[in-house]
């Protein structure tokens, strides 16, 4: 009996090693397209593929759609690691779509700032990058540089405004901030909707990140409410676009890397998540697109450090409670659609 078991165990381990040698393991992950996905591949996926002899299949899906897909695939999940930027990890964790990770399972988790790991206790993935939402403006075109969110309502910017649809995480956070400066709250989005309604005839509404760049390049945009990462991309492309952390505060976008539940390759998936938390990867993200690192061991060059909110300063960014945002999301998006529809 015992001998049988040993032989069986030997055979299975042999089989396993053979099959892994033959079929390269594959991880399926999502990324968000545009300049971010390009960088994500270059800094994370490609080095990880080489170092671990795996194949990473990247699917371009925004956070909200990713959550919708995870729900639809609940019986047979297709992703190994999912990235969220709109707080969807709160919902995914609550619905059991993602697996909790213990901080000790990720070697780099010990070096993260507390804000990056606090969600892990609720079953969410760690925060690997942070970016801020503020105002992008063309420094050569605007008569006066904006200082505050409320400056968007100044008539001197004419019809050169760019607003972002709320189906986009950045657009949602930018809107919530505008709502906040006009006296609204997560429970009461009326002030924001009313005030943004005043801007509609002067603005172009976009829904994906590359469109911001396109509007500055081709459509004579002067000022846009968007994020620091793309502000840097646009500036690198040679346009005189500057990023402003508005004086009323800048909402933080937390990028989380989450482990999908019910997938066979969780150990490898965790390794990928841990790799995204490493100081080297985060320093490169900060250098290339001005993302704020969440690992306190990350070393930034001076010129990068001066432009990036990092360390404990991240706490000064405005953080909207993702659970609360989620509970009002559907109603808010519907009201928004009604507001903007012609």
């Amino acid at each position: 009996m015992k001998a049988n078991q040993t032989i069986l165990a030997l055979l299975t381990s042999l089989l396993a090693s053979v099959s892994s040698a033959v079929a390269q393991e594959t991880l399926v992950v999502n990324s968000w397209g545009g300049a971010y996905e390009k960088l994500h591949k270059q800094l994370v996926f490609e080095p990880f593929e080489k170092a671990n002899n795996v194949k990473i299949k990247v699917v371009t899906v925004y956070s909200a759609d990713t959550l919708a897909q995870l729900r639809a695939q609940k019986g047979a999940p297709q992703y190994d690691v999912v990235h969220f930027s709109g707080g969807q990890e709160v919902v995914a964790a609550r619905e059991g779509l993602i697996s909790p990770i213990k901080p000790q399972e990720l070697p780099n988790a010990a070096d993260l700032y507390p804000f990056a790991t606090e969600g892990m206790a609720r079953g969410e993935g760690p925060v690997h990058l942070v970016t801020a939402i503020g105002l992008l403006y063309n420094e050569k075109k605007v008569p006066n540089a904006p200082k505050a969110w409320k400056d968007l309502w100044k008539s001197e910017y004419g019809d050169h405004l760019v607003l972002t649809d709320l189906s986009n995480s950045y657009g949602l956070l930018g809107f919530l901030m505008m709502n906040k400066v006009w006296g609204g709250s997560l429970d009461n989005t009326k002030p924001g909707l009313e005030k943004v309604g005043e801007l509609l005839n002067r603005s172009v509404i976009i829904s994906s990140s590359p469109e911001v760049q396109q509007n500055f390049a081709q459509n004579d945009a002067w000022i846009a409410a968007f994020s620091q990462d793309y502000a840097h991309v646009i500036r690198q492309s040679g346009q005189p676009v500057k990023f402003l952390l508005a004086e009323e505060g800048a909402p933080a976008v937390f990028f989380t890397a989450n482990l999908v539940a019910g997938r066979p390759n969780q150990a490898l998936a965790k390794k990928l998540i841990d790799f995204e938390l490493s100081p080297e990867v985060q320093a490169a993200f900060a250098r290339e697109m001005r993302y704020s690192p969440t690992n306190r061991k990350t070393k930034l060059d001076d010129n990068v450090a001066s432009e990036v909110v990092f360390g404990d300063a991240v706490k000064s960014l405005v953080r909207f409670d993702p659970a609360q945002v989620d509970s009002s999301r559907a109603t808010l998006i519907e009201n928004w659609k009604k507001l903007i529809a012609r």
Binding site: D165, S167, I205, Q218, A341, R342
Partner: protein, 274 residues
């Protein structure tokens, strides 16, 4: 009887595929739209749609645009199809290539092409500006006209191919007879060819109409967030608001709406033209 039996066996794989890959999932989605989370039947989602001016507006825009698209395709498609059918075989091949070639390119790619042509400084607005019709910053993007232009380009081949098939089957001697009897060319086309090609025009219109009410990529890219159409609204409700039941209810309404429009259309044309 036996022969009939064999037919069924031959058709079985196709029917099974249609059942399990189409009818069952579609029925599942439809049911989702009239069910409460606890499983009891409800019309609350349908009611929500029908009592909300916003969604009725979205539905109206969808129908209006689809009607315009269908009409333009039919008006432009019939003469094109007639020329194609009556042209020399050599020329017909070239026209066929011309009309089907765009189908080889992805809809998304063609839509992006339109975005370039219709956007600020694009070919069309620039031409209008040079002719003095519009101001310099004029853009056709994010207008209903952009949706109509983009959709016509995509759906035009369906209309032409449906009509051409019918005209090709017409006996040219009928036309010759009408000319001999004293019809001018235009009168012969109007009084002989057009009535006889109605089945093709109807088939093409049905195809174009049903495709255009259910398209969402082109309208959402060319129309932007401020001009929602029904298919785009279903997509947004399902993925952005994550409200599957309401999305299913909207699909159900779209489905029933198309049926209501189509059934009388088909039966009417069947009655008058055998």
């Amino acid at each position: 009887m036996n022969k009939y039996h064999d037919d069924w066996i031959i058709a079985a794989p196709g029917i099974l595929l249609l059942c399990f890959a189409f009818l069952v999932p579609v029925a599942g989605i439809m049911v989702l739209g009239i069910k409460n989370p606890d499983g009891s039947l409800t019309i609350s989602y349908i009611e929500r749609f029908l009592t909300d001016a916003y969604y009725l507006g979205v539905a109206w825009r969808t129908i209006k645009l689809s009607c315009i698209i269908t009409l333009v395709c039919a008006i432009a498609g019939f003469p094109f199809a007639y020329v194609m059918a009556r042209a020399s075989p050599n020329l017909r091949v070239w026209l066929m290539i011309l009309i089907t070639l765009p189908l080889m390119t992805s809809v998304v790619v063609r839509t992006f092409g339109w975005m370039v042509l219709l956007g600020r400084g694009g070919l069309l607005p620039e031409a209008l500006y040079l002719m003095g019709f519009v101001r310099r910053n004029y853009s056709l993007m994010h207008t209903e006209a952009a949706i109509i232009i983009g959709m016509i380009q995509i759906l035009f081949p369906f209309m032409v191919l449906s009509i051409v098939g019918v005209i090709l089957r017409l006996d040219p001697r009928i036309e010759e007879a009408s000319r001999v009897m004293g019809c001018s060319f235009l009168a012969s086309v109007k009084r002989v060819v057009l009535p006889l090609s109605i089945p093709g025009i109807v088939a093409g219109s049905l195809l174009v109409f049903t495709l255009s009410v259910s398209y969402f990529i082109t309208p959402s890219l060319l129309g932007g967030a401020r001009l929602p159409v029904l298919a785009g609204s279903i997509y947004e409700t399902a993925t952005k608001s994550q409200d599957w039941a309401f999305a299913a209810a909207q699909s159900l309404i779209l489905f029933i709406g198309v049926l209501i429009l189509l059934i009388p259309y088909i039966s009417l044309t069947r009655k008058s033209h055998g």
